[in-house]
Amino acid sequence: MSSVDVRERAKKAEKKPSAIGPDIDLNAYSVEVKEHGKIQKLKNLSGEVKEKAISVGVEAVEACRSGSFFQMDHSVILSSAYKSGLEVMSSTEALKKYDWLQDYWWKAVNVDADKYTAQAELKQNHGYFLRALPGAKVEFPLQACLYMTQDGLAQNVHNIIIAEEGSELHIITGCTTAPGVRTGLHIGVSEFYVKRNAMVTFTMIHNWAEDVEVRPRTGAIVEDNGIFLSNYVCMKPVKTLQMYPTAYCVGENANVRFNTILFAREGSNMDVGGRVFLRAKGSRAELVTRAITKGGDIVTRGHLIGEVPGIRGHLECRGLILSEKGSIHAIPELEGKANNIDMSHEAAVGKIVEEEIQYLMARGLNSEEATSVIIGGFLDVEIKSIPEHLKREIKKAVRMGEERLL
């Protein structure tokens, strides 16, 4: 499909609302913003930007990162790889550099899925291109930060992530707003290509302002023996967040796992899911969600589609309601289209069981301490196969949210 065809399809979908989630008036957000100048090092960022970046796992000290990408509003102010075998640049630059990138553009996500994907095509403001070359294995993660400084701005990014055969790529992405920004729209298309025997771990931490609307659109294509592990943490307020990342296990023994940790305060509306198409023998998927509301509304979805024999999948969703207001709606779906498949789900939504609090109190904790320990335990999703320092980042982001819970 030519780029002209892609744009035509996008134009046709310009007004197409998303199948789920509150509709957004895209015209309410500005697409004009001043350009920001490039920087050489992340340490050159101002103190307040650094602080916000750290809150989403993006470190100004680059020693324990293998590369960095920083986009402020519509300007890519820094992109560099510190290790060989990795490529980090803006996706627009990569499109110019590599003709073959057209073969990956809008192949894991449909350009005409809805008006948000359409806007990402028609009014794209960069995004990142991250690639691990064949066989490259880098322990330290690549980090990417998408940062918004202007109130009322729409940021429309298109990211492409490619792990070539036999490579291993760990990514941490933080999305956040500058202090003082209240409203905004973030549309982030992310397309992942995990080739044979490759592995991608993708940890995304969101820390938005209270009136920001967020529409990530993610697709991942996983080939033979490929592993795609996605961790998503949103513990801070957001006006509306709707995402339904979808992975396609197209190769034998492809393995996908989505871990999602959500906390919605009053005024936050989150509709977050995960969907995996299991299309090849031996492919596996596991979706794990922990959702907490203290007044906000959460819809948590999971959908496994088993299309061939010999696949396995499991969905797990646990929700905790900590206040009179607020709701959690868990929608687990299993769709089996072949024999000899193994798919299951478990979902539980409720409040903290009083008996558990009393149990901890009998060991000497007061009621607040006991509640805190139980919430900490509830959010402690076992995350395997990611480097220790990424686990620490996830724990840090969760802990910062927990402080607001109590």
């Binding site: 646990r318 069981v353 149990y359 109190m361 009998a362 060991r363 904790l365 007061n366 009621s367 006991a370």
Partner: protein, 246 residues
Amino acid sequence: MIEVKNLTVSIEDKRVLKDVNLHIAQGETIVLLGPNGSGKTSLLKTIIGIPEYKVESGMILFSGKDITKLTIDERARLGIGIAFQRPPAVRGVKLKDMLRICMEKRGDFKEEKINEFAQKLNLFNCLDRDINLGFSGGEIKRSELLQLLAQNPDFIMLDEPDSGVDLVSINLVGKVINELLEKEKIARERTKAGLIITHAGFILDYVNTDRGCIMLNGTIICSGNPRDLLEDIRSKGYEGCIRCLR
């Protein structure tokens, strides 16, 4: 050490304890016998302070202090410990975390003690597991005792520590209960006291108790030598107690 005076307790308007009186001195261990639903567990839960158990009248004194209105954690920090009969599972909270909490709250946290205690109860393999989640009946009982070892309370209440425990483990359980209650010391040198509920009485083969009490319909109806009482119950059942009351 602990004195229960004229205690009457109800749950949701149902009376579960009626005018209970019980005194347990420092160094003493009492075994509480009685049929299902007689109020044994209710008494333990009232002493630890579970709020659903509403004290209508009477009081509980611990070391001379009225604790009737204290919260569970205040009682625990004063030195009252309990091994629950059916404790809840707490997801994400590891047994190891609980041991740390138990020690910290009694002001004596030592990392190396965790392994030492776990070894005593053969629970190494459970330390990194979510507490009580998927534990076998025997593991739950041993894990409760493990937490008490870490907590080191002065007054120890054990709710059926022998039920669901296999013959090998009951030896371990008995040993640890004796250690908790300082049974190696002579009675007047002990600083601990205990109250044990048993249904089948197996634990009495491993732990020496000083006195037995029989509870029926929410009241302690008699007390005496624990072995004699158990023998009577084994031969005549609790029917014998009911006849005795008439």
